[in-house]
């Protein structure tokens, strides 16, 4: 396969970019050699070098974990030092000098043995107490003004619902800074795990067992408050099938205004907006393969800017009349599919294919033509082969170009 993963370089505030200085082998070796020191917690400062580092906390949640980690790390180093020094000492000191040596036959020493039982026990207690405190501290639902987001894991992409805002998006989670977030985690198929290291630990995204009427299904939650704006990388951390390696995501932490602006744009970017919070009626909107969608082009096209690139206009028309809309939705259009990623504001995303390559025209065209060639076992059909339960889209190269232009215009 010919996947070249182009990364978004320094999206928005540049935090997802890779520092250029560490590309040479020599520099990397140095980085490797000093890494043991960095593990001790000196790392927190230089964030960009390792965009998915688990020791570079940017939320309260990650902070708690990190300080716990640092303390356990040093306890471990202490024990390691003691064991290795003792070992080195006996290896050097008690090496056999002559075969006739008759060492004193000592069978044990109660005091010593009690000592090295109690010593480690005390260290273990010193580790266990803050651990249990942290366990409880990190699993408390936060305040009522928290932003709730429903995260749905799919093979192999992420879906995000904002029930309060009525917004649905995919693979790029937008969050306001300094506001507590409650993520409700649920899987649509197999077990995934939501992990954005700089924002905190991972939590499994489980398929939720069906329950009898009147009982509450049990969801997993993640609670944290982002403390800095920026773009943070994450990826699925529970083996979920063929393209598990290609199930990444970005979390965009914006200022409160920036976030609100994003929500507004989500409704306004394409045509007449539905009122906030309104749910499209899935039954009437979901198109079956091969079935012509209910075209409402006329109204929609009228709502569109007259100066628009004709390519985009053509692309919109093609998209809305293709089987694409059976799975994909674009807010404000007749495309209301809910099976695949929602494509509203698609052009504003930095990455494509669940965070695996830069979102540009060239990659997008390649993706629409041959998604399974880029990412094994995705459910999306290509132009010439079926995918999931859906037939090939049958789009011509020209149509693909137009659709790509249209999708990238959604900003």
């Amino acid at each position: 396969m010919r996947l070249t993963m182009k990364r978004p370089q320094g999206n928005r505030d540049g935090s997802a970019g890779v520092g250029p200085g560490v590309r040479t082998l020599g520099a990397r070796l140095v980085a490797f050699l000093v890494a043991p020191l960095l593990m001790g917690g000196l790392m927190a400062g230089c964030a960009d070098e390792y965009p998915q580092s688990s020791i570079s906390p940017h939320t309260d949640f990650a902070e708690i974990i990190h300080s716990l980690y640092v303390s356990i790390f040093w306890w471990s180093m202490l024990i390691l030092a003691v064991v290795w020094l003792l070992l080195a000492w006996v290896i050097v000191k008690y090496r056999r000098k002559s075969e006739d040596e008759k060492p004193r036959q000592i069978r044990g020493h109660l005091g010593l043995e009690i000592g090295w039982t109690i010593g480690p026990a005390l260290i273990v207690i010193a580790i266990a107490i803050p651990t249990v405190q942290a366990v409880f501290a990190t699993q408390q639902p936060v305040s009522e003004d928290a932003l709730e987001v429903e995260v749905v894991g799919h093979q192999f992409w992420w879906e995000f619902h904002y029930p309060e805002q009525g917004v649905t998006t995919a693979n790029e989670l937008w969050l306001p800074v300094d506001r507590p977030v409650n993520l409700r985690l649920e899987s649509n198929d197999v077990i995934h795990s939501f992990w954005v290291p700089k924002l905190g630990g991972k939590r499994d995204v489980n398929p939720v067992p069906a329950v009898r009427e009147g009982q509450d299904p049990k969801y997993n939650w993640l609670y944290f408050t982002p403390q800095e704006t920026g773009v943070f990388m994450g990826q699925c951390a529970e083996f979920c099938g063929q393209s598990h390696a290609l199930m990444a995501m970005r979390v965009v932490v914006e200022s409160e205004e920036g976030f609100q602006d994003w929500v507004d744009r989500w409704f306004a970017s394409e045509g007449a907006a539905l009122p906030a919070g309104a749910e499209p009626d899935a039954e009437t909107e979901l198109q079956m393969p091969g079935e012509e969608p209910d075209v409402q082009e006329d109204e929609e096209l009228q709502a569109v800017d007259q100066d628009e690139d004709p390519m985009v206009t053509l692309g919109r028309e093609t998209f809305l009349n293709s089987t694409c809309v059976a799975c994909h939705g674009v807010e404000g259009t007749s495309a209301q599919g809910v099976i695949g990623p929602n494509l509203t504001l698609f052009g504003a995303r930095s990455t494509l294919g669940a965070g695996i390559m830069e979102n540009n025209r060239e990659n997008l065209v390649r993706w629409i033509i041959d998604p399974q060639g880029i990412k094994a076992a995705v459910a999306m059909p290509g132009t010439e082969y079926p995918g999931g339960n859906w037939p090939a889209t049958g789009l011509s190269d020209g149509e693909v170009e137009a659709v790509a232009a249209y999708l990238l215009s959604l900003k």
């Binding site: 067992p209 069906a210 009898r212």
Partner: protein
């Protein structure tokens, strides 16, 4: 396997004075305890979590199951008497009691099988709910154990009839008895947890 152990035993002396075969069999029973323990735990974990009916309270007939349980309990008594007869060298008695064990095992299986048919009529199948899955796999595994026990008894009868189990080799019957009692006890646990405490 029966003879292998006996032969090793003949060879002598073990550290504990208990034959290898018996120690080994107890070990195996320990292993079986974990096996059934897991099956029973699963049933308990899924208890009350079935999404659709039929639910246990709707279909279990405690009376019928009590009768079948009693039959199985009495088969243990027959087993004890069979062993006693073998130890005394009373061949005919031994065969008679072992036949009784098989017969009572058969009655138990028949009654249980009948209950299965009834439950299936109610719509409880392997795939209908977690209750169906965990109930059938748990009790089904137990029934497989009962069947194996009955086959074992049949082999013993054949051996006794051919004078291959003199009183000195009564341990072969004793071990089979251990197995049979174990299968009974497991059923009592299942009966209590599955049928009585709903």
């Amino acid at each position: 396997m029966a003879q292998a152990a006996a032969a090793v035993d003949d060879h002598g002396h073990t550290t504990t004075g208990i034959s290898n075969f018996k120690v080994g069999f107890w070990t195996f029973i320990a292993s079986e305890c974990l096996f059934f323990g897991t099956l029973i735990s699963t049933y308990m974990v899924y208890k009350g979590r079935a999404v659709v009916g039929p639910y246990p309270a709707e279909i279990f007939d405690v009376l019928i199951t009590t009768i079948s349980t009693t039959v199985l309990l009495f088969s243990s008594l027959a087993m004890v008497l069979a062993l006693h007869a073998v130890q005394l060298g009373k061949k005919k008695h031994a065969i008679m009691w072992l036949l009784a064990v098989i017969a009572m095992g058969g009655i138990f299986l028949g009654m249980e099988f009948n209950s299965y048919l009834k439950y299936i009529d109610y719509g409880l199948t392997l795939g209908s709910s977690t209750f169906g899955s965990s109930y059938y796999v748990l009790t089904g595994t137990h029934k497989v154990h009962v069947v194996l026990g009955m086959v074992w008894m049949a082999v013993l009868i054949w051996l006794i009839a051919r004078n291959r189990i003199p009183p000195a080799k009564a341990e072969q019957v004793e071990i089979a008895g251990l197995y049979w009692h174990f299968v009974d006890i497991i059923w009592i646990v299942i009966f209590t947890l599955v049928y009585l405490i709903q």
